[in-house]
């Protein structure tokens, strides 16, 4: 029966810990064990019965997605990333625009040209903002 316990542990090793996970692990373990005893009662060797139970169990991903942890986690991470990108773009464009203003004022204060590159650069944070909003 140790093999079954190990197998169940293995199946769930990537899932974050939660009370729900423990309950369902317990339930699966319990029922697999039951199946093994039943198969043995039908005349199978213990080793065979355990292997059969494990093979017939099927794909774990369904339960995982039902536990709901996976997808939410991924989305949160993507939003976090988009937020960092947005912050970076804001700081980056502020610095570049500040440099443009400085160069403009210092070398050619009579003609105001820094507005043109400013508009061009503003596309950058704008894109990042909408990308972040789309994910949110």
């Amino acid at each position: 029966m140790k093999k079954i316990k190990n197998h169940v542990d293995e199946l769930f090793k990537d899932t974050p810990n939660s009370e729900e996970k423990e309950t369902i692990k317990q339930e699966i373990y319990q029922n697999l064990e039951e199946k093994v005893y039943d198969l043995m009662a039908q005349g199978k060797e213990e080793e065979d019965a355990i292997n059969k139970a494990i093979v017939e169990f099927g794909n774990i991903d369904e339960i995982k997605s039902e536990l709901g942890v996976y997808n939410i986690d991924k989305d949160v991470r993507r939003i976090e990333k988009a937020k960092i990108d947005l912050n970076f773009s804001i700081w980056g464009s502020i610095l570049i625009i500040a440099l443009m203003i400085f160069v403009n004022m210092y070398y050619s204060p009579s003609t105001i040209w820094f507005v043109y590159p400013t508009f061009a650069i503003l596309w950058w944070p704008l894109i990042m903002f909408y990308r972040w909003r789309k994910l949110k």
Binding site: T23, I24, Q26, E27, I28, Y29, Q30, N31, L32, E33, E34, K35, Y37, D38, E56, F57, G58, N59, I60, D61, E62, I63, S65, E66, L67
Partner: protein, 109 residues
Amino acid sequence: MIRSDIIRGHLESIILRLIYENDQYGYEISKQISLRTENRYQIKEATLYAVFQRLEKKGLIESYYGNMSHGGKRKYYRITTLGKAYLKETVKEWRETKEIIDLFMEGLD
């Protein structure tokens, strides 16, 4: 074996029906399904537990811990009032679906 993706869409009803008849635990249900279909359809345990989770979240079934078996506690499921109503609805829906599909599937050889 039968194409399982069609059955898959009705697994909730199938399992609900079995729980409706008697309170059930996981392995008993998978055994019942194989038995009644004479092994033409076998449910994967993983699928079964996914369906349990879904049904329980929807409030159609509830679980409780029952008697010991080989030293462990069995988790049983029973149907709720909402579950019964839902099952009745699905049966009605299925009859209608069957009639419609039959219109196109019957009469050919």
